[in-house]
């Protein structure tokens, strides 16, 4: 549980329940009571469903109790559009599952929220998804005849980040929710992982919303059923790894290779080295691939396609791409 300690000590988070679960299980990967993990195999992806039933274990993992579905699809990083399409279908299926579990009906109104900063590429996943999804709420209200059957009312918001608005993102969302009263919010955000291997190859969908401290941004207020009063599904894709984690992972690897390392070198020395290297930005340095703009574009199209397909009965897997904006 050492990395977990380091993460907590430094206020660094893994946004992925699947990583947090593995960290809590430790090297021996012992079963944790109150957490159920389940795996499915698909042609181009592996899906892990983690249900956290025990709030105490959830607190240890830094995750609220609820269902976390993780799709691992390394092919998302390849230049292979037909494969991305297959992943999108799996994602659509899982979004439908969570909506059903939450008893959100096929006609219920949904508000999509793209979290993150449009102007900082690694943080731009949310707003880019929003720019591609179909928005129908105003047509339902003012031009119903322009929509065929099978389209539910969907609205979409990219509220920006506190650094450019001066306002906590959750305040804008809560204010809007109170006015338009949707049945459910689906929030899309760029995540931080602890392993570069997950960057733009893992998708997490959770019915727990977004909780304080989570995400690349600095939302101090949660975006969940507690703050908004309605269920929040969160869709996230890791786009960065915190730079401090890379350094600690390097030290950890060294420990395993060098007998007596832990005896010779104090934890404090390692922290001191990491801190000096990451000054003057402190915990705010991220590791991200150079081609992040292409990876995020692909990921955003994949999520937007899945949303169009899962939210509207009239959109099927064969024509979901046509409805991208």
């Amino acid at each position: 549980m050492e990395i977990l300690n380091i993460l907590q000590k430094y206020g660094i988070v893994t946004d992925l329940a699947v990583e947090a679960h593995s960290l809590v299980r430790g090297d021996a990967q012992t079963e944790i009571p109150g957490v159920i993990e389940n795996k499915e195999k698909y042609d181009n992806a592996e899906v892990t469903t983690i249900i956290i039933e025990n709030p105490a274990v959830g607190a240890l993992m830094g995750k609220a109790p609820g269902t976390y579905i993780t799709i691992d699809a390394p092919g998302l990083r390849e230049n292979n559009p037909p494969l991305h399409d297959k992943v999108s279908e799996i994602l659509a299926l899982k979004i439908e599952t969570l909506l059903k579990n939450l008893n959100i009906s096929d006609e219920a109104e949904i508000l999509l929220v793209g979290l993150g900063n449009w102007s900082a590429t690694p943080d731009a996943l949310g707003p880019r998804v929003i720019s591609h999804v179909m928005v129908t709420r105003h047509l339902h209200k003012y031009l119903p005849q322009s929509l065929g059957p099978g389209f539910r009312p969907v609205s979409a918001l990219s509220p920006g980040v506190m650094g450019t608005t001066g306002i906590e993102t959750a305040e804008i969302i809560k204010g809007t929710v109170e006015k338009i009263k949707p049945a459910c919010v689906i929030a899309i955000d760029a995540l931080a992982a602890t392993n570069v291997d997950r960057i733009c190859s893992t998708i997490q969908i959770a019915d727990t919303g977004i909780n304080p401290g989570s995400g690349v941004g600095n939302q101090r207020m949660g975006i969940d059923i507690n703050t908004l009063g309605i269920p929040v599904i969160a869709i996230g894709i890791p786009t960065v790894v915190n730079a401090a984690i890379i350094i600690f992972e390097a030290f950890n690897a060294l420990k395993q290779q060098v007998p007596g390392f832990s005896r010779q070198i104090q934890e404090q020395t390692l922290h001191h080295i990491a801190e000096k290297l990451l000054e003057p930005f402190g915990g705010n340095l991220s590791v991200t691939p150079k081609e992040i703009d292409i990876l995020i574009d692909n990921a955003a199209l994949c999520v937007a396609t899945a949303l169009n397909q899962s939210l509207h009965k009239a959109v099927g897997k064969e024509n979901a791409h046509l409805y991208l904006q």
Copy 2:
């Protein structure tokens, strides 16, 4: 009052009080009781202040009672940055005047709102201004030491348009205002004029907010003290003229040149011609200059500079440009 009738018949508006006033005064430009008009001369601009005291006359003009300040500066259209700077100073002065009239103190929190559609250049003035202004509310709240004295808390929002969010813009603003409770909203919007000569050369500042039907967009709900519960200052610059107006203006000019024109040709014939020409877009065709992107960029920098200067005591006319983002 013929053009005015046409405008009203076709649901076309002039967003400018100065135009509406002139139309109501008619060819003879008779005084209208309940409306005060006042002119000032500056080196590079002429300023007209119209105070509408009588609600009935306001209704005739399509304008709420209140103060409308119009800055006419044809030089704003020229490639002459030092001149734009002079206009910006006049604008800053007038914003300060309105804030003072409304009893908004130097420390009171202000929410800036950029109305309009980032992706449609003639409608992008509001969001472009927002991208240039200084935002300080979060610093006041979380990092007060990073701000020197003389900076008030300012937040900024570009809520998008109903066509892309599915939500009435006023709902998002009202929701946010209820959460963060600023003392005043300043809303920036692209306007429609009835004369191409005013495009990107006129700036209107009003203490009445934005009222239904006004603006290039289609805000059905007002953005004013009635809907938000706090004063709303509206800053607008015309960027388009409705295409129907251009046609009617051409017919009007013809009438004045051709004796007997009005006898020979029925109003209905003219309307029929205009309608046929503007199909299939109806009233939704705008006339705009080809270089609108450059004109709007200049106008946005001019407004943002004036806002930085008028909202923060620490920013003077000599250093206002440094604070553009």
Copy 3:
């Protein structure tokens, strides 16, 4: 031929051969020797092919000799993605036809050029298409194994406009063509029509490139086989109508309704009225729909889909959407 005279007198152009042909044919729509016109009906579109064989007639029409294919599809303006997809297929077919006529082989390298101004929505069609097409030239050169068979080398350039680069667009293209030596250029541009009905509902494909004076921008140098030394296919969609044309069309309609109008009112009077109304922007005012951003986005996706499909054997009509970027 009156409108044509007006157009020429004012230096206003129609970029559409189909409009120029109709104007030259006059009210009686008489056959013009040296011009062949041909019509096909499709489910959601009508296709007109005009072959200008006689350079003298071409000069009268303001068009270089060559083949001009016009797809008229009013459905492109509707919110109907499956219909857009059908139009895209027709466009792909016609691009293939022109490439074949020009003897450009399936493996030959092609340079796509997005003309126009990214920052001015009505002029942004070209750059938006470029942002969606698949680019493969560098993969062919440096990572051939990452491409399956059936993908030809395609490069793509959005050279900007003279107002922001200070350079004639044709110079940048010619310089690049001389370095990378493609077999053919396909240039995409926003056009000006004489009828608002054609805005974002007509697509023109021509094997003549882009000739001086044509297009919304002000390219003084042609972008054609004469300047580049290789064939140039031009794909254009009208996004504006010159404001002067709207006024003259209104006057023309009046003439037809009012007996004796032409006797009573001199042409010069009409020109004087139009000139006064359009000051201070002269010929540089355009009429464009308010929702131009959505119309152009749809049009850009339609063209990009057709390009992906027609340029790469590996991309068929059933999977062309997957390859949009």
Copy 4:
């Protein structure tokens, strides 16, 4: 010289001559014959000028012979616009110095080139600078009366990156240079440093252009006097540090703290650890601050202001901000 070996082994570069010089000088910081280093102190910055006279030493440093001026101004990272303005003045001075050394006259035409990828924030410095600079070449050519005296002809190009154009950036620049024949190119690019402390706080100006392997992008062809036939001034600001360097710096710090570390642990072990951690992106992972968008915006405004001021006699330090676009 160990880090230098690591950098070379892994094909990782430091783009900064000042870092390369320090690395070559080693721990003892011995003088290197054929390299002259010179320091100046300013109020808010320190300037280091390195002249590499000896090509062999240059090769060791991975730098072409020539003059490299480095401005270190940690205040560039602070939210302090007046301080940025001071740094901008120093930069303007140094650009003027290099232009003078190269015998470029006050009237000579200059082409500004913004290298890098507009869509990937850490790589977007070049295109963002280009969007802010004043472009005058077309006015000189077609509208000379619209420009007062004291403005030289300046053009500007953001050619994009090979990943989106399919074309080597140097080919587009070379093609354009051959057409418009400027006297000098000034290329702006985001750089990679070896120390996070330099991110957005160091500016390097060099008269050597951009040489193969340098920069965040992958320009295989140089952009210098050899390839273009005219002098190239390169302005660069570090925006990232390669993730591999962070890991090796951590190991190096450990070596200094732990006696016997080098004996106990083989270099190969360290490389193996680093390689495993950075899979699957290999050398292509960068470390960058979360607020990179704000840092780059400030840096771009600073460089654009300095360019406007140093290139045009009519623009002085007191009014340079007014000419930002």
